[in-house]
């Protein structure tokens, strides 16, 4: 956007990589089991759902919005999958149904933001409660776990030693990267985030962009939900609780401004990996896990400080 954009972007990515390498070096020193191919793939497997949802959040934030309902959508979508399977719907159709519900939830968010002109924070705070309530109501607080074994495919298969869902994550990363960086849709998205009025006068259909943005966020939460539900082989109404905060954290740690107008697919993904390294390292090093939030918090503050303070143009000049 300005002359500093390119070096600043590079510096931000380098900063995140440095933090990640630093954290990994610490855990490698603390546990011989940390830096193994098997553990790296294990981390990639466990980060997949967060990674996919964080990319949806990155899109929403780039448009100048926010989506607090993604964790609730994951829960509702999981419950729909379980409920459908419980009532004899073939698993393939149950998955399609779960994805459809997730997409609809996202579009409903978008519709309220666009048609009622409500602030997305208020809309998605409301639908967070609404979708979560539906999820818990449908299974009446219980859990469903009698899935057919064929449902192990989305979350429990390995291709050689690579977890299947991590390949899905990679495809999503690539797709979001291509759409946001290489297409007109991507430029419209960023334009809406930077200056809605200017975008409107440039002929961008703001409403359509916003609907697409929340729909995409919902659908990505649905994809994460199918993977999650298969991985734990259990559908519960409280699935995905708090995931929205993790996703927002990943986007912000990735260096995107919360005010919108920029998106970084790679840095958001790096941030998800960075945040995921900590619980893994704590378990392998045998450190009291009560303290892991302290480490997560420190890493996040360090990353945000690095992004926001160090590369503030006024500081660079002095």
């Amino acid at each position: 956007m300005n002359r500093l954009a390119i070096p600043r972007d590079l510096a931000r990515s380098a900063g995140l990589v440095l933090l990640l390498v630093g954290a990994m070096a610490v855990f490698t020193a603390l546990s011989p089991d940390f830096l193994t191919l098997s553990n790296l793939l294990n981390m990639a497997r466990l980060d997949t759902e967060n990674g996919i949802i964080a990319l949806g959040m990155a899109i929403v934030i780039a448009s100048g919005g926010i989506d607090l309902s993604v964790g609730a959508i994951l829960g509702l979508s999981s419950v729909v999958l379980g409920y459908a399977s419980l009532h004899g719907v073939p698993i393939g159709m149950a998955i399609a149904l779960a994805l459809g519900v997730a997409l609809l939830c996202g579009i409903a968010n978008g519709a309220m933001v666009v048609l009622l002109r409500l602030h997305p924070l208020l809309v998605t705070l409301g639908t967070l409660a609404l979708y979560r309530g539906l999820a818990q109501g449908i299974l009446n607080g219980g859990a469903f776990s009698n899935f057919p074994t064929s449902f192990e495919l989305p979350g429990q298969t390995y291709i050689a030693t690579v977890p299947g869902q991590t390949i899905v994550w990679a495809v999503v990363i690539l797709a979001v990267y291509v759409v946001t960086r290489m297409t007109a849709s991507g430029r419209k998205l960023v334009a809406v985030g930077i200056n809605e009025l200017a975008a409107r006068f440039s002929g961008v259909r703001i409403g359509a962009v916003r609907m697409a943005v929340y729909g995409a966020s919902g659908l990505l939460a649905g994809i994460a939900s199918v993977i999650y539900t298969s991985r734990v082989f259990s559908a519960r109404g409280d699935a995905g609780g708090g995931l929205e905060l993790l996703a927002i954290a990943a986007v912000v740690v990735g260096g995107a401004t919360i005010r919108g107008g920029e998106i970084s697919v790679i840095r958001t993904t790096l941030a998800v990996i960075l945040i995921g390294v900590i619980p893994n390292g704590f378990v392998l090093a045998g450190i009291d896990t009560s303290w892991q939030f302290v480490a997560v918090g420190l890493v996040m503050v360090a990353a945000v400080a690095f992004n926001e303070v160090l590369f503030r143009p006024s500081l660079i000049r002095t």
């Binding site: 990640l20 390498v21 990994m24 070096a25 490698t28 546990s31 011989p32 089991d33 940390f34 830096l35 193994t36 191919l37 098997s38 553990n39 790296l40 793939l41 294990n42 981390m43 990639a44 497997r45 466990l46 980060d47 990674g51 859990a143 776990s145 192990e152 429990q156 690579v162 991590t166 390949i167 994550w169 990679a170 990363i173 690539l174 999650y228 991985r231 734990v232 082989f233 259990s234 519960r236 699935a239 995905g240 609780g241 790679i266 993904t269 790096l270 990996i273 619980p279 893994n280 704590f282 378990v283 392998l284 045998g286 009291d288 896990t289 009560s290 892991q292 939030f293």
Partner: protein, 328 residues
């Protein structure tokens, strides 16, 4: 793909010096996964496990989610598998959600057991039951009977109407009262929702109407101290109308030291976890009973094993003399 290749590059870059493989089969680490690490109940379990581990030459790795969360337990299990420990033992937050990860651990040659709250039967080798439901029910009845000369009319405050363990205990209490204490009569059962405010409310309301006909109050869900408070607010002396049943030590500690509650009953999480480590050791050494049998569990003596369930046995009765030893 970018994520994978990045990780692979990092692995290649930093991994050469560390080797990255660890010994398997000889690990002496037992991973103990509580429902939540911040709960003092599980801290007591951890202490019990450490005591047994020290005696048998193991180390305990106490890791888990900081709030009760099945997904957090799954992540902890998956990460723990990478450590190739001798055993993973868990108090399951959701019996089914943790099952795929636990099965993966078993497939990797790790001994898996559950304690306190069981998991799906095919996802663990054995379960450590904290105390038999029948003995808990008898403890609830006997501690009250001793305070009221074996007769009278009682209010029973449960936790919630649907809680399976509560209904099991009540089902054991009733025939035991009929056969051993026939002059004790449960007048009414009211849920207290494990919540001190609700217990205070329901006990106050009930006693306001039935003060003269009530001999004592059983509380078998959470919030026993609130029942004492309810009596005091109505001008009833808790010595004259005893409160007894199941309790959390931290909730009743002050009331027991003040003599307002004579004693109450629960199991010891430390003993449960202690027995667990002995059971894991026996399993690894091949001495764990195949069918029904007994397990030698150090200071706890021989424990009965039925259908891959180790029964730690008797509940603990808390009194002014021992309650300070419990920290949950």
């Amino acid at each position: 793909m970018m994520a994978i290749s990045l990780l692979a590059v990092l692995a290649a870059g930093c991994g050469s010096s560390t080797g990255g493989t660890s010994t398997s089969g000889t690990s002496k680490v037992i991973v103990l996964i509580p429902k939540q690490t911040s709960d003092p109940f599980f801290t007591d379990a951890y202490n019990g496990a450490k005591e047994a581990a020290a005696a048998l030459g193991y180390t305990i790795s106490y890791v888990g989610p900081s709030t009760a969360d099945a997904a957090g337990q799954v992540t902890t299990i998956e990460n723990s598998i990478q450590k190739k420990p001798a055993a993973i033992t868990i108090s399951g937050d959701d019996p089914d959600a943790v099952a795929p990860a636990l099965k993966r651990a078993m497939a990797a040659g790790i001994v898996v057991s559950a304690f306190n709250a069981d998991v799906a039967k095919d996802a663990r080798k054995f379960f450590i039951s904290q105390a038999s439901d029948e003995l808990i029910a008898q403890g609830i009845v006997d501690t009250m009977a001793a305070q009221v000369n074996d007769k009278g009319h009682f209010l029973l405050v449960s936790s919630t109407a649907t809680a399976a363990n509560q209904n099991t205990w009540i089902a054991f209490m009733k025939p035991y009262i009929t056969s051993k204490h026939p002059n004790m009569i449960i007048d009414q059962i009211i849920p207290g929702n494990d919540d001190p405010a609700t217990v205070l409310n329901v006990v106050s309301t009930y006693l306001a109407a039935h003060k003269s006909s009530t001999t004592g109050v059983w509380v078998i869900g959470g919030g026993m101290s609130a029942a004492v408070k309810a009596e005091q607010q109505l001008g009833i002396d808790p010595h004259a109308m005893p409160v007894a049943g199941l309790c959390i030590p931290s909730d009743v500690k002050a009331a027991i030291h003040a003599g307002l509650i004579k004693n109450c009953v629960l199991w010891s999480p430390a003993d449960t976890a202690y027995a667990n480590v002995y059971a894991i050791d026996a399993y690894i050494k091949g001495t764990f009973p195949k069918g029904d049998g007994t397990l030698a569990a150090g200071k706890l003596g021989n424990l009965s094993v039925t259908g891959n369930t180790v029964n730690v046995g008797k509940p603990v009765t808390f009194t002014a003399d021992n309650i300070d030893q419990f920290h949950f």
